[in-house]
């Protein structure tokens, strides 16, 4: 029986849908507006984490700019509404397009880079984008923030909008993983030179991953802008990127479930210990260190390991041929 990345993707997609089904039912028990809002923010981060995971977890491109792309998406729709009084259905695609376009530029610039060079380049890009938005008072209102009109009156409507978008993004990533694109992205992640030598058009797929990831983060930011109705350059802070990366690593990088699991656990956990001030950040930093050191596959990796052990002994690496 074949058990490869396609069948793994099937299992993980089913698990992530199960998780999202629980999220869909949550309003039955969470009637409080504040906590509904917290869950919406969880989904905002889950979208970013899913986008970042596509680029870093599946393609191996360690970008430090997911929050910057969310900020660009937010300002894309925000500017359309504030400056030109255009409706959200024009603003949101504009935000996504702006993020995707800048993702393409960053992807082309970063083509030959890897490791710390790639990280620093994407970090520099993120800071430049944040500083430009923050200092362009005449255009973006800079640090004063930008008011963005809402789409709905009820918080519950935002809740299900974010959920529907998250399911759609998950389905999109799932279908990508099941196609040859998924194989190629993972091959590039594991060994770019070998991938090219086997005929994989590495340049095309790396740039495509940058564009898709940036567009997803931009979509998250654009939706958030209409939900929060006030955006500022703080959306693109490196700390926000740190949050997205932590969520993915804790949940399970390079898996479909990890980013969603991580986003909900980390953000809900952060809300639970918010009263302790800055200490909650220390708790999460330590959690990231522990996961990175001892559980490289994150929480989903632990679940997978437990499941495998329950079903059959873990296959041992074979020494010779049969």
């Amino acid at each position: 029986m074949i058990d490869n990345s396609e069948t793994r993707a099937n299992r993980e997609f089913a698990a992530s849908l199960g998780l999202l089904a629980l999220v869909a039912l949550a309003p039955l028990v969470v009637a409080n507006e504040y906590w509904l809002g917290v869950l919406v923010v969880c989904m905002y981060f889950a979208l970013q984490a899913a986008g970042w995971n596509l680029l870093a977890g599946y393609t191996g491109q360690m970008s430090l700019a997911p929050a910057a792309f969310a900020m660009i998406g937010a300002y894309g729709t925000g500017m359309m509404a504030y400056r030109y009084e255009l409706p959200f259905w024009i603003g949101i695609p504009t935000g996504i397009l702006a993020s995707a376009l800048l993702g393409w530029v960053l992807g082309r610039v970063a083509l030959k880079l890897s490791g710390p060079y790639l990280g620093l380049t994407t970090l520099s890009f993120a800071e430049i984008a944040r500083l430009i938005i923050g200092n362009s008072y005449d255009i973006t209102r800079g640090d004063l923030g930008l008011s963005v009109p809402g789409i709905f009156d009820a918080r519950l409507a935002y809740y299900y909008l974010f959920l529907a978008v998250l399911v759609a993004v998950q389905a999109g990533i799932f279908l990508t993983l099941k196609s040859k694109a998924g194989l190629f992205l993972q091959a590039i992640r594991d060994d770019e030179i070998a991938a090219a030598s086997r005929g994989v058009p590495v340049v095309r797929w790396k740039v495509a991953a940058f564009v898709a990831s940036s567009a997803i983060c931009g979509l998250a930011g654009a939706l958030y802008a209409h939900f929060a109705q006030l955006i500022s350059p703080e959306l693109g802070l490196i700390m926000q990127t740190g949050f997205v990366i932590s969520m993915t690593v804790i949940g399970g990088m390079g898996t479909l479930v990890g980013p969603i699991l991580g986003a909900f656990l980390v953000y809900l956990g952060s809300e639970a210990v918010r009263d302790f001030g800055g200490w909650h950040l220390i708790v999460f930093a330590l959690l990231v260190i522990v996961v990175a050191r001892f559980f490289r596959d994150g929480l989903w990796g632990l679940v997978r390991l437990a499941w495998t052990r329950r079903r059959a002994p873990v296959p041992q690496p074979a020494v010779g041929t049969r």
């Binding site: 074949i2 490869n4 194989l183 190629f184 993972q186 594991d190 030598s197 005929g199 049969r322």
Partner: protein
Amino acid sequence: MAILSIRDVTKTFGGLAAVDHVSFDVAEGELVGLIGPNGSGKTTLINMLSGLLPVGGGDILLDGASLLGLSPDRIARRGVLRMFQLTRAFNRISALDNLLVAGRALGLGAEEATRRALTLLEELRIDHVMNLDAGQLSGGQRKLLEFGTCFMVPPRVALLDEPFAAVHPTMRAIMADFVRRRHAEGQTFLLVSHDMPIVKELCPRSVCMNAGAVIADAPTRAVLDDPHVIEAYLGGHAA
């Protein structure tokens, strides 16, 4: 007729000629051994043939068309597929997926790629580990797997860089049998190896390089008896 023509190819690193005006042809269906002591420029030449290193001078032709300036993936899609001296497998995807990457990249549909991958896994006797990630395989199994990726779609030329180095004799025999069978079917090979008994057995013709230059190009037995080749390998004068 020559499938692969290497014409006056040169590569220098900081003034040192790693490949020095090398010329030879590989004809369709030929199995040519490329031998020479360590540092003689064999792998550098293979890297240029597969597009991983830019050619310093000269030309490389495949079916009469120049490969100069083409990216490694385009060269692979034209039919020049290579195996690396130090195994390069995709460690975090399964052995089956490793083969599917090559098959899909070379234009096969999902079903056909899977069918061919399963056949290859069986032929190379690693079908029992097809669901394991390549990173979990033994060194020899990984080598067999990488060897297999070159044959998902029959290449115009298979460039095999030290396929028999540091592998168990059983696996060496599997690969040698495979090469022998495919050669009998008309597959073209350029085989880099230090394993002289296997080169002598498999390759009717060999090219020997030393210090970046071709010092012998003749039937393998004649090459191995060539005093210049013996001197290059032993570092002294031939008896």
